[in-house]
């Protein structure tokens, strides 16, 4: 970062490549600004203008990301950020989950009588943070992006201001999340101290140059950074916050967190991991120990997530635990990555599949949620297939996918993920994983039992389904099946993305 010590004017100009590489961010940020303007203009009802602006921003960003796909990586802001396929890959996940979240929220917020424009702004902000996380090459930028994302999400979690559970979730998340951020930051400081660089590339260069000179400070620093991410993805033993927060947050937000936020954390995690961890010249002893830690963590995560999910009766909380479990599967991909031919591509494929099916499931929950996020207990789902045949069908698709049963995305992704783990000779880990997914089948299918095989309890009214939610659900169903049947494109994209780092 010696370059920062002198001011060089050429750094302040943007080449056309750089400009177009920044377009997605401009779209999102521009939309945020415009939406704020629209929101404060009291003369018109803010709902639709804001939504229009927000969606335009997100869709514009998606379009411009799509235009960037496959292009050569572009370094931005003096190498603090990069726009490569890896970035685009994740940006698409974030943006799409942003769009879906917005779609799901429209009717939801009406129901909760809290249709405020800020909500959409916060979604945009956190989407921006996520995008930055995936693209930054600098620990401080990562921190800022992380905070940008998290702060917005803290507020979203507590968005149901008058609801006790929402408040509680927000405060818990805030306290623990800030603590974890501080830990991450402390790790960054230690890395900086031991390598003399705050940029990931700089750290990598240092490691490559002095493989033998790795100090405990470096190791500790790198690990603390990783813990920051492990906290966000809720790997055991850093998972404790997750069920409570997922349960307390408004349902669409939970969906957003489960997909976007987790993907963002993995995006940054992976970048840092690849840079400072395995691929580099760490000593074998550390690699073995790192492997052991991740291995244990993966096993515990899968076991804990699945076993506790088994006992849940609230669907949101169940999906929270299942989300922990899925983190465990993702960690398997993390462990297998360096040793298998496909590298981290299976992990990324899984993230996509996971995002699609989980988003879908949460949109369905958002539709069915009654005021104050009620109506999400198992017995509320009794006879759903009669009230909402299509919704039940969609939910069934998502649940089968989550359980990893063909021909759905969940199966294809899991197949690829575990396959690469076998290639990495992690057979025991895979055996444990598949047994854990067998456990998961039980609680996913139990929901189906309620939806299809039990008669409705009491008088249950049909929840109105908004067009927006319907579109979102339909799109996610299509995507789940599409990826399940034709996983090749996603796998290739992931492969391209990971090789562009």
């Amino acid at each position: 970062m010696e370059s920062l010590t002198t001011i060089r004017p050429e750094l302040l100009t943007l080449s056309s490549e750089q400009f177009s590489a920044l377009m997605p961010y401009f779209w999102v940020f521009g939309a945020t600004v415009l939406a704020i303007l629209a929101a404060v203009m009291r003369s018109l009802s803010p709902k639709w203008p804001v939504i229009t602006v927000v969606l335009t921003g997100l869709v514009g960003a998606i379009v411009s990301v799509a235009g960037l796909l496959g292009k050569e990586p572009v370094a931005l802001f003096n190498g603090m950020m990069v726009s490569d396929n890896y970035t685009h890959f994740f940006s698409l996940i974030f943006l799409i989950s942003g769009v879906v979240t917005v779609f799901a929220s429209i009717r939801y917020l009406d129901n909760e009588a809290m249709q405020h424009p800020e909500y959409y702004l916060l979604v945009l902000f956190s989407a921006l943070g996520m995008m930055l996380m995936a693209s930054s090459l600098n620990l401080i930028v990562i921190f800022i992006a992380l905070e940008l994302m998290s702060l917005a999400v803290y507020i979203l979690v507590g968005y149901r201001r008058t609801d006790r559970r929402s408040n509680e979730a927000a405060v818990k998340y805030f306290v623990l999340g800030s603590g974890a951020s501080a830990v991450l930051l402390y790790g960054a400081a230690l890395l900086y101290g031991s390598t003399g660089s705050i940029g990931i590339r700089g750290i990598l260069d240092f490691v490559r140059a002095n493989p033998a000179a790795l100090s405990p400070t470096f190791t500790l620093g790198a690990w603390l950074v990783i813990i920051g991410f492990l906290f966000k993805v809720a790997a055991v033993p850093f998972h404790m916050w997750m069920p409570d927060v997922y349960e307390g947050a408004p349902t669409p937000v939970t969906g957003f967190m489960a997909t976007g936020l987790k993907a963002a954390a993995f995006a940054a995690f992976l970048r840092v991991f690849v840079s400072t961890g395995y691929g580099a010249g760490l000593t074998t002893a550390i690699q073995t120990h790192l492997h052991d830690i991740l291995w244990m963590s993966a096993v515990l995560t899968m076991l804990f997530g699945n076993l506790v999910a088994l006992t849940q009766t609230n669907l949101k909380r169940m999906l929270a635990y299942s989300s922990i479990a899925h983190t465990g599967y993702l960690l398997v991909g993390m462990i297998a990555g360096p040793h298998s031919e496909q590298g981290y591509a299976p992990l990324m494929t899984y993230l996509v599949a996971y995002a699609v099916m989980n988003l879908g499931a949460f949109v369905v929950l958002s539709i069915l949620a009654t005021r104050d996020d009620g109506g999400l207990n198992l017995h509320d789902f009794s006879g759903l297939s009669r009230r909402h045949p299509w919704l039940a069908f969609a939910m069934a698709v998502f649940l089968f996918s989550l359980a990893g049963i063909p021909p759905t995305a969940g199966f294809a992704a899991k197949y690829i993920l575990f396959y690469s783990a076998v290639q990495a000779n992690e057979i025991l880990l895979v055996v444990i994983s598949v047994l854990c997914s067998a456990i998961s089948v039980y609680y996913y299918l139990r929901v189906l039992v309620y939806m299809y095989m039990r008669d409705p309890v009491g008088t249950q009214t049909r929840s109105p389904v908004s067009v927006w939610s319907a579109i979102a659900v339909a799109a996610m169903v299509a995507a789940t099946l599409q990826i399940g049947v034709m996983p090749a494109r996603v796998v290739y994209a992931a492969k391209k993305a990971i090789t562009s780092i």
């Binding site: 818990k172 306290v175 623990l176 690990w223 603390l224 850093f238 404790m240 916050w241 790192l290 052991d292």
Partner: protein, 664 residues
């Protein structure tokens, strides 16, 4: 042509069966008389008889050594070098069986037209009867063991169906089931024997098997192990025969089988099916002859069965039961013959027995028919005058079975007795038991004859409609009144024919100039060898002794049953023995306690105690353990922010510590 012999009854079956299914079975279906069905069925089997006769004549026209007609209909199963053809083969043995089977069957079909005249579903009855004939013919014409087995099981099936023909009576249905299952136990042995044959000799074709065995034995290729194997094979197959031919310990089904209509008892459970065991042993004589052990087993089982069944027959009151036990006993004789190596003697007794036993059963049927389903001989008597033809023909059968010369039974039985004494594998004990049995046979048959036809009637003639009905098929609802009457002509005619055959049938196998022995020679080598130390003159002595014994039996029986009060006294004096015999040595009860109950209890225990209580519990246990661990672990999530942070800290310290430890 061979295939047609078997096929004709099958066609008859198809016509009658379809007719039954299409017309009689559907609700509101027409009630049809027995005549049409009966004529169809009788024509079919009659056609078979004619064809059999033609085949017989053709064989007769051939040189003795070449007397084989073969017809391959199609390849049944072909797997690699395992090839099983659907092949029919007629040789002297099977042609003689075919002949008497079709002959007797035709008569019984004819008889049934009258007997089943008032049945509700005659189509079904005659279809079954034809199916039986088809199976039986498959059994004797089949050129390989599996085809033989096809017939073997087929007759078992028909037996099952016909015993339980009046299925509305649970006891009758049970009797059918019992027959099938006990036969299955025998078939189990048959199957294993077949497998072993295939394993050892690589073929199941009877002719090829015979060649293989005879050639390797004459070439001296059979080692001790092979002979042991042959012994095992023979005994296993004999287990099959025990089932089918009702030998100890598998005879228990046959007495119960009398639940079926009487023509069925005559055809299946006296004349034909039950003798298929003897057919099998005779057919495989080349193997049995190689195994003295197996022969001994056959002989011992045979003679013991003969004696044992005769004792039971002494005290039975049901006319059909007496005949049934006598059948078991006579079958024992046949096996005794086979067991001492006198296969053709066994076969000749099969044929004579078919004549006189069919006659006796049909006669009994006629009596029952005339008595309106009364089967207890204690409630009969004096039928001589009321049923003249039945009486006369029955008498012929009675004398034949009692072994009075020159009736047919005498020749065949005497030959068996003589051979059981004189043959290489024979012994005095065999003869003694056989002879005692012969005396008992004469006794109980005379008892039966006397109680049924002689003396004064012990029943009341009912002038009105005979009300009691156990058969809802309306079998009893025939319109004519309750008077005891002679049976119609369709029933009497077969009786007459059979009576003639019973009288003269024995002449085909007169000792020392037996036409039958000669005829069977290509299949069954004639062996009149006499064991060392047996004087040829003994034959006449023994013959005289057995005739005298029979006469004595008849005499005592007449004497005794002329005065029933005396019988009662005798009964009381020997109450224990009588009870034991009346209850058939409690064999059924023994089997119930020994096999049926324990297996049933075990099955329930396995189901409730293992399937549900162990396997399922283990399986569900996995679920429970998961659920339980989930419940246990979830307690960690106390909701306390401090605990959450603490776990976070512990995680950091533990992982970082482990990592740094790796660095050190």
């Amino acid at each position: 042509m061979l295939a047609l012999i078997a096929l004709l009854p099958l066609i008859g079956f198809a016509i009658n069966g379809l007719w039954y299914v299409a017309v009689q079975a559907p609700p509101g279906g027409k009630k049809a008389g027995a005549t049409v069905s009966g004529v169809i069925a009788t024509t079919a089997i009659g056609g078979s008889f004619v064809l059999s006769l033609l085949v017989f004549l053709r064989l007769k026209g051939m040189p003795a050594e070449a007397r084989v007609i073969e017809q391959v209909v199609f390849d049944w199963m072909t797997i690699g070098d395992f090839n099983l053809e659907m092949v029919f083969r007629a040789d002297p043995l099977s042609s003689i069986f075919t002949l008497f089977i079709t002959g007797v069957a035709t008569l019984i079909h004819l008889y049934s037209i009258g007997y089943m005249g008032h049945d509700a579903t005659p189509g079904k009855f005659f279809a079954y009867l034809n199916l039986f004939s088809f199976s039986m013919l498959m059994l004797v014409l089949g050129g390989s063991l599996p085809i033989l087995f096809l017939g073997w099981e087929g007759v078992g099936l028909c037996s099952y169906l016909l015993i339980g023909y009046w299925y509305a009576d649970m006891d009758k249905a049970s009797a059918g089931k019992k027959a099938f299952i006990v036969n299955r136990i025998g078939d189990f042995g048959f199957l294993l024997g077949m497998f072993m044959i295939y394993d050892k000799f690589g073929t199941l074709d009877l002719l090829a098997l015979r060649d293989t065995v005879l050639q390797s034995s004459s070439a001296g290729l059979l080692l001790a192990a092979d002979l042991t194997a042959i012994t095992t094979i023979c005994i296993l197959l004999f287990v099959g025969c025990m089932g089918k031919s009702a030998q100890i310990p598998l005879y228990v089904w046959l007495p119960d089988a009398m639940a079926g209509p009487t023509p069925v008892s005559a055809l299946i459970h006296a004349a034909t099916m039950v003798t298929s065991g003897i057919y099998l042993v005779a057919r495989l004589n080349f193997m049995y002859s190689l195994s003295p052990t197996a022969l001994t087993v056959v002989a011992v089982v045979g003679v013991v069965t003969a004696f044992f069944a005769a004792t039971i027959a002494l005290v039975q009151r049901d006319i059909k039961k007496v005949l049934a036990y006598s059948t078991v006993s006579q079958l024992g004789y046949m096996f005794l013959g086979c067991g001492v190596g006198a296969y053709s003697a066994g076969v000749s007794h099969v044929i004579t027995h078919a004549f006189f036993k069919a006659l006796l059963f049909l006669g009994a049927g006629s009596v029952i028919h005339g008595m309106h389903e009364e089967q207890d001989i204690m409630k009969m008597g004096g039928l001589k005058s009321k049923m003249k033809w039945t009486y006369l023909t029955f008498a012929a059968g009675w004398l034949a079975i009692a072994g009075i010369p020159p009736f047919s039974g005498f020749f065949s039985k005497d030959e068996i007795l003589w051979r059981s004494f004189s043959a290489e594998h024979g012994s005095f004990l065999f003869w003694l038991l056989g002879a005692v049995t012969a005396v008992m046979t004469a006794f109980y048959m005379t008892r039966l004859f006397s109680l049924t036809f002689l003396g004064s009637p012990r029943f009341k003639e009912q002038g009105e409609h005979h009300g009691h009905s156990t058969h809802p098929d309306g079998h009893h609802e025939h319109g004519h009144g309750g008077a005891v009457h002679e049976s119609p002509m369709t029933m009497v005619f077969p009786l007459q024919v059979l009576a003639v055959l019973s009288v003269i049938g024995g002449f085909m196998a007169i000792p020392h100039m037996s036409w039958l022995d000669h005829w069977l020679e290509p299949v069954i080598p004639v062996d009149h060898g006499v064991a060392a130390g047996v004087a040829p003159a003994m034959e006449w002595v023994l013959m005289a002794l057995s005739v005298a014994g029979a006469a004595a039996g008849i005499f005592f029986a007449f004497k005794l049953y002329a005065d029933l009060a005396k019988v009662e006294k005798l009964k009381q004096r020997w109450a224990g023995v009588h009870k034991l015999l009346e209850n058939k040595w409690y064999v059924d009860e023994l089997y119930e306690a020994l096999f049926v109950r324990p297996i049933y209890t075990l099955s329930v225990a396995l189901w409730k105690g293992f399937d549900t209580a162990v396997i399922d519990r283990v399986v569900l246990g996995f679920g429970r353990v998961s659920e339980w661990s989930g419940q246990t672990v979830r307690v960690v999530q106390t909701g306390s922010i401090h605990l959450y942070a603490f776990v976070l800290l512990i995680g950091i310290i533990a992982t970082a510590g482990y990592l740094l430890y790796g660095l050190a």
